[in-house]
Subunit: 135 residues, 2 copies
């Protein structure tokens, strides 16, 4: 693996994602960084995002619908995706390991990890729904 060299763009991308708590897409990062580096290219953003993921500094979330998202939180946790507004929230599962152990019971192979994604309606959208009903 090639030696890393400092770059102001990469530093800016790292800072942006690490301070961003709403799981931005590559495009969102691109737009954000553009304010500081108007000439930055989307390719550079993608290159650095995957680099940071490899380094374990940020995480990539594949939603299976639309573009991938990036997460400043690299500790094991789950995600909730609102089926209405498509926002993504973190969910801290208490028993991440329990699930893996349970699944291993009737499976021929070695399970090392799992990702759980929840779907439903977020607090915000629930509020709007009730508002409509009562009006």
């Amino acid at each position: 693996m090639a030696a890393l060299k400092y770059s102001r763009q990469r530093e800016s991308i790292r800072e942006f994602v690490k301070s961003c708590h709403d799981h931005p897409t590559a495009d969102t990062v691109y737009a954000g960084i553009k304010e500081e580096f108007p000439n930055i290219s989307l390719g550079t953003v993608y290159r650095n995002l995957s680099l940071l993921v490899e380094l374990g500094e940020i995480a990539k979330i594949s939603t299976g619908e639309g573009p991938d998202r990036f997460d400043c939180n690299t500790r094991p946790h789950s995600h909730f995706i609102c089926t209405q507004c498509h926002c993504i929230k973190d969910i801290q599962l208490t028993d991440m390991d329990y699930i893996t152990r349970k699944a291993s019971e009737n499976f021929d192979g070695e399970i090392t990890a799992h990702t759980t994604t929840f779907y439903g309606i977020c607090k915000n959208c629930l509020g709007k729904k009730n508002l409509q009903k009562s009006s």
Copy 2:
């Protein structure tokens, strides 16, 4: 929603996926159907696959890596993806609901579903690994 009309291509695609227990991609389905309908187009395959998903006859699996896959099993269950050979196996979780209930405890919003994907090494790849070690 438009009324459905019979088509031999759709029937063939449905049969193919329903008899296929290894989670084929659209391309795999395309290749399979091509034997019976050499002129079928990929567009038709995609159109019918999403139609069948809408009808609830098959399910779509987004792996987050590579193309989507299709599943003849529409009952709630989880998937295991081998990080080595990328095969996908079904896993029957005993407590699908327990996980949802547990996650709901500390979450502001309504959770209606979840998908859990496990990662690790499949039985087959484990075998190959041990073979290498002992040789």
